[in-house]
């Protein structure tokens, strides 16, 4: 069928949108780097003992990368909602093109731009003293988990981009995800939290993902939560993908 060709056509369109507004990439990268520097140089002195034997910057780098993705995918929702408001999505919906092709173009370009942002943030982390024991296998597993997380949150962005009534509102889901980052062992171990928050933090999807990333980068091993981390990522991806396709088909503006 034509699906791959169509997906590629849509990816090219979406990529030129991103490349023609490079300011969005810069905006996406600046806030996590600022957050990284603040946590390391301002709060790091007080928080470092909580991270056990680990250097604090090694402790927080996975959480900072997750933060980068969460703020980055909000732009995918914003862009897609712009297409909805302008009637561009309705034009596509009256054409003989598969819904998955139209939406996957957005997903692929969002994944590429977020991977790029993560590379920049990772570079900044290295400059600030981040070091890793990971070998090639661990790096590949880490990249796979990061890509899965990016795709899952991107499809979440696509869903909210299709459903929202304004472009401004379409990014609001990312605030909820931000909240999940702070209620996870991203910046402090869950053992330091109050009991109620702690039981929430230990059972929410971001926790195994962040802990597995941290384990891969610093211990050079996947750790015991890798299975559940990949399962959360894959599960979220499948659910958000199906919801998005449904939302695209049913959308009536």
């Amino acid at each position: 069928m034509h699906s791959f060709k169509d997906t590629w056509t849509m990816t090219k369109r979406s990529l030129s949108h991103i490349l023609r507004s490079p300011d969005t990439i810069i905006t996406v990268v600046i806030s996590p780097i600022a957050l990284l520097l603040m946590f390391v140089y301002v709060l790091g002195g007080a928080l470092e003992p909580q991270a056990g034997t680990m250097k604090y910057i090694n402790f927080i780098t996975p959480g900072i990368l997750i933060f980068t993705v969460v703020s980055g995918v909000a732009y995918a929702a914003f862009r897609l909602n712009g297409d909805v408001q302008k009637g561009i999505i309705n034009r596509f919906r009256t054409m003989p093109v598969a819904p998955s092709s139209i939406l996957s173009g957005q997903a692929v370009s969002s994944a590429l731009s977020n991977l790029f942002s993560c590379l920049l943030v990772l570079g900044a982390a290295f400059a600030a003293g981040f070091r890793t024991n990971a070998g090639l296998t661990e790096w590949l597993l880490f990249a796979a988990l990061l890509a899965l997380f990016i795709l899952a949150t991107t499809w979440m962005a696509i869903y909210f981009g299709l459903k929202s009534s304004t472009p401004e509102g379409s990014g609001s889901f990312s605030y909820l995800l931000m909240f999940l980052i702070f209620l996870s062992p991203s910046f402090v171990p869950t053992s330091t939290m109050s009991p109620v928050l702690r039981s929430f933090a230990e059972n929410q999807p971001f926790t195994p993902i962040i802990e597995t990333m941290r384990s891969l980068l610093t211990n050079g091993a996947a750790g015991d939560k890798a299975g559940i981390a990949f399962a959360w990522g894959a599960g979220l991806l499948v659910v958000m993908y199906l919801l998005s396709i449904q939302a695209y088909k049913k959308r009536s503006l």
Binding site: K5, D6, S16, R20, S21, I88, F92, T94, P96
Partner: protein
């Protein structure tokens, strides 16, 4: 000829608001069909259902021989939609917009198709500028050009000239006529009566969720009773005398300064009869004109009467 669009008993409601209450019409292949109605009459809802964007509540609708509810994929193969607001990509250039649609419709040579359309729609000079810099008329032209890619046999245009200046409007009419000459079936909605009169082979008036009347412009105009004849006289005395003379047999519609409007019929014999009556009364009009009913009269006749019934 096989009809391009058949709609029977179409209904659609939103919450408590029943927009379409059983709409029926048929669009023949190759004709320009205008769905005429005021704002909020349900024109866009009808287009949305026919172009597979929205699900109907009841009734039947086939487009290009395919049921919109059961075979939406097949319907999409034979249509294209130009919505009420130009659905163009501001970030891309005009050429890139056209190539994008060409690629998605799998035309053989998207670049060549784009170049041809840019020329045809007078956009060649602006081809490589971002669409964000375009005027309303240019955006509309690009929008229509994008709809023509792949030569879909049925084209839907939702208020194609709303928001255009008079010159752009006439250019758009020419483009629509050219399309129809090539055999494309055109379904357009409009709230402008002159546009329907100017373009459409068949006009259907959508009012309060139903088709209030349909036919050619000429057929619709016949729905307004009697032609009006307007006489001018030298002075008011003459006018009053004429009013007395004609008032015995005809309805006096209006007396204004030295002009008198009478409902006197619309064929030559009836008009001649009026002159004979005036001659018999020894009154010579200085001028006369025949008021031919316009679509406006038809529209207000149809929609005004319907409102009074409620």
């Amino acid at each position: 000829m096989k009809p391009a669009i058949v709609v029977k008993g179409l209904t659609k409601g939103f919450k408590k608001n029943q927009v379409l209450k059983g709409v029926d019409f048929t669009v023949d292949s190759g004709e320009i069909f205008a769905l005429l109605g005021s704002n909020g009459a349900g024109k866009t809802t009808t287009i949305n259902i026919l172009t597979t964007l929205m699900e109907k509540d009841g009734g039947q609708a086939t487009v290009g021989g395919f049921d919109v509810a059961k075979q939406p994929e097949k319907v999409r193969q034979s249509i294209s939609l130009t919505g009420q607001f130009a659905a163009v990509d501001d970030v891309l250039t005009a050429r890139e917009n056209l190539v994008l649609i060409g690629d998605l419709r799998h035309v053989k040579d998207s670049a060549q198709t784009a170049a041809d359309l840019l020329k045809k729609f007078n956009l060649a000079d602006a081809a490589d500028r971002r669409v964000a810099t375009f005027s309303g008329g240019m955006r509309r032209r690009l929008d229509i050009a994008m709809s023509l890619i792949g030569n879909p046999p049925i084209i839907f245009l939702d208020e194609p000239t709303t928001g255009l200046d008079p010159e752009a409007r006439i250019n758009m009419w020419d483009a629509i006529r050219t399309l129809a000459q090539g055999g494309t079936t055109i379904f357009l909605t409009t709230q402008y009566l002159d546009e329907a009169d100017e373009l459409a082979d068949t006009i259907a008036v959508l009012h309060e969720g139903k088709i209030a009347a349909s036919g050619t412009a000429t057929e619709l105009k016949r729905l307004v009773p009697g032609g009006l004849i307007k006489f001018s006289f030298q002075n008011v005395e003459q006018l009053e005398a004429a009013a007395v003379a004609l008032g015995k047999k005809y309805e006096i519609i209006e007396k204004k300064n030295v002009t008198l409007t009478v409902a006197g019929g619309d064929n030559a014999g009836q008009v001649a009869e009026l002159f004979i009556q005036l001659r018999n009364a020894k009154i010579e009009p200085t001028d006369f004109s025949q008021q031919v009913p316009t679509l406006d009269d038809v529209f207000f006749e149809l929609t005004g009467n319907k409102k009074e019934e409620k």
